[in-house]
Amino acid sequence: MIEIDESTIDAIREIVNIGVGRAAGQLQDMTGSHIRLQIPSITIVPFNEITSSGNTLISGDTLSAVLLDFKGTFSGISAVVFPPESAAALVMLLTGEHEKSPELDAMRIEALKEVGNIIINAVMGSIANVLSEHLIYSIPSYYEGPIENLARLKRKNVRDECVLLARTNFLVEKLNVEGDILLILEIGSLDALVESIRKVLA
């Protein structure tokens, strides 16, 4: 893995922030709710260390995630992950529903997929635009299960891959729902990503 300096991390944070800001605007317009999305931290860890990274959100037994494969100069999986209860609560807030014990049924999964689709598209669009890279995307999908199995759905050698982890706070109607945006990059893709960023920075 190459050394990633602080300026590169800052650049990544800015790019993600642009996308997230755009996504927040879209969600706010779409739902009519006052939504703010914040990116408080950017972390890059090997995938096999992700559960021991101290990230309690990710290290939970089960996650609800919206996934998007991408291929290009750098390839991988981008994902928005939530604890299932937070995911259900987020959808309930966005749809204005009230239920005593909300659960992620098929309709709410579709809604969550749209929310995830907006966020991921915005982030990936921001990355692609800023870095002037052309990426090929799969159709977004929904995943529910432990983080370890998330990437394995797509590829086998995920343990050697790197994860760009952006902690996201969804602030909706005074409720703070935490989620993570993950960029699970294939071997070498992180280097390619960093190289592209450095080119832009240069």
Binding site: E99, S101, A111, E114, N121, P140
Partner: protein
Amino acid sequence: MEEITDENPIFRLLDLIPNGIIVIRSDYSICFWNACMVEWTDIPADEAKGTNLIERYPALKNPIIYSRISQIFEGGPAVLFSSTFHPHLIPCEFPNGGLRVEKISCIPFYQSTGKYALVLIEDMSDLTNQIKAYRTMKAVAEDQRDDLQKAQDAIYLANKALRETTEYLNNLFDYANAPIITWDSGFHITRFNHAFEHLTGRNQEEMLGKTLDLLFPDETRNASMRLIRKAIEGERWEVVEIPILVKNGSVRTVLWNSANILDPEGRILSTIAQGVDITDRKYAEQELKESEERFRISIEKAPEAILLFDINQNRYIEANSRAEQIFGCSRQQLLDSGPQQFYKPDQPDERSITETVNEHRLRVQAGETVVFERNICNNRGEDLVMEVRLVQLQSADRRLIRSSFIDITERKLLEQEMVYHEQELRQFSAALETSNKKLTLLSGITRHDINNQLTVLMGFLEILEMMQPDTSFRDYFNKITNAAERIQAMIQFTKTYEGIGVNAPVWQNTRTLVDSAAKDVAMGDIRLVNDMPGDFTIFADQLIVKVFFNLMDNAVRYGGNITTIRFSVEKPDGDCFIVCSDDGAGVSISEKEKIFERGFGKNTGLGLFLSREILAITGITIKETGEPGKGARFEMTVPKGMHR
């Protein structure tokens, strides 16, 4: 790939898919409209193709929607529009009306001819309806669950409260001070408390399940059961008195009240009765009644006149018959005006009546018994002297003064007479004393003179006896001498006898008397045993020491082979015996009484006669009770009150 056309075999396959599929170019013009869309929209493919999707479906013009779709053509990923947020983005009606609920995915793909987007429209209506139905059902179930939980919580709380209430009521029932019992419609005892056990002296085994009649004494059983049947029939006892038979056979009087316990249909399940044991109260009331009756009788039958004054009411409330007799007026007159109306102005204490009445009342209220005399003139005009005694009678709720009037008119007259006679007696006593003194003096002088003359006589007789050698006269000389000596003894006796009763009797310690008397007796080898208690005294003439001396002297002189003289005291009830006994020859049966006669004896013959006389001054008697040959025994019986 070539330009998208219906003729392209790949897209022909899309006609087979049961979802709506539209393919648009980057200018949003429709280049493919599958069979499903034709069916859902009734728009033939030829009509749709070439038209602008955005223009056809204005909802897509919404900037939020439009900007997202446009991303596709800028190299962005697929865009999803969920049925939740966009249920009718491309409205498709059901044949029978109503819009399909749709999920739309816009998927970019690239051809050499340009950028395209495949718009996949999935009919989510059934799923949405199912999910909504499920949600509704779930919400109902959750509401029901919550209601159930609330009901369970309420039941739990109600049960808890019921348990607590039951426990409280059980404790209240079991440990109530009042006896409580329940019975069923068949009069079987179903429950009772500790107080009831205590009342009847019977335990659970003896009463539970048994019929009530075991609780009643024979004589009231039928009446009690009649009352209980009435209670079962719906009559509620406010207070009814039913005697209860205690296990030990005694009967307690109990006041009961009852209530029937009904089931929801109003049928009597059981009857509960609570009692108050009034036996002691009834006894107390009876006792009080009897006490009041005794008090009334004691007042009514009292020999003195009695009036009761109620301090609180400040009036007389009772007067007995004797009061009517003494004051010579009716009871009502006495109660109205009191006894003061009969008081004469001159009273023994020479004080004003008003002043003394108030003073006496205060002293009585202070707890003092006040006794005084009153001169009265009754209604018959009789002048009487009364001894009045005032006593306070205090009870919890009343303060009474009992005034008793004893007619002491006669006593006062007797007292006056006694004073007169006492004066007379004193005068007689003084005269008698003077006479006695003169007589004593006279007899003393006479005795002295006679003794002198006897001494002369006996001296000359002795000279004559010495001068007369003729022995034939000796016998006469002896007789003359004996006669003279007897005269001398008689003179001595008169002196002694004269002293008896001259001085008043006094209390004397018997042990000291024995010791004093023994000093004048020549006891020789004879042992004196003085067993008289050191604190035993008798009331006797002051010459009694001579009695003790005489008894010891007689024993020494006439007891024969005597070794011991013993004085002791025996105390049967009332009288007591002072015993003087010895182990000498004793007194023969024929002489047991003669020895107390004057003139009997080997010496002067005056000892025991005088002893009996001296003892008789204070009622003490003496007799000889010994067994002849085994010693003499003199018993002196001292009457009750003369010894201590």
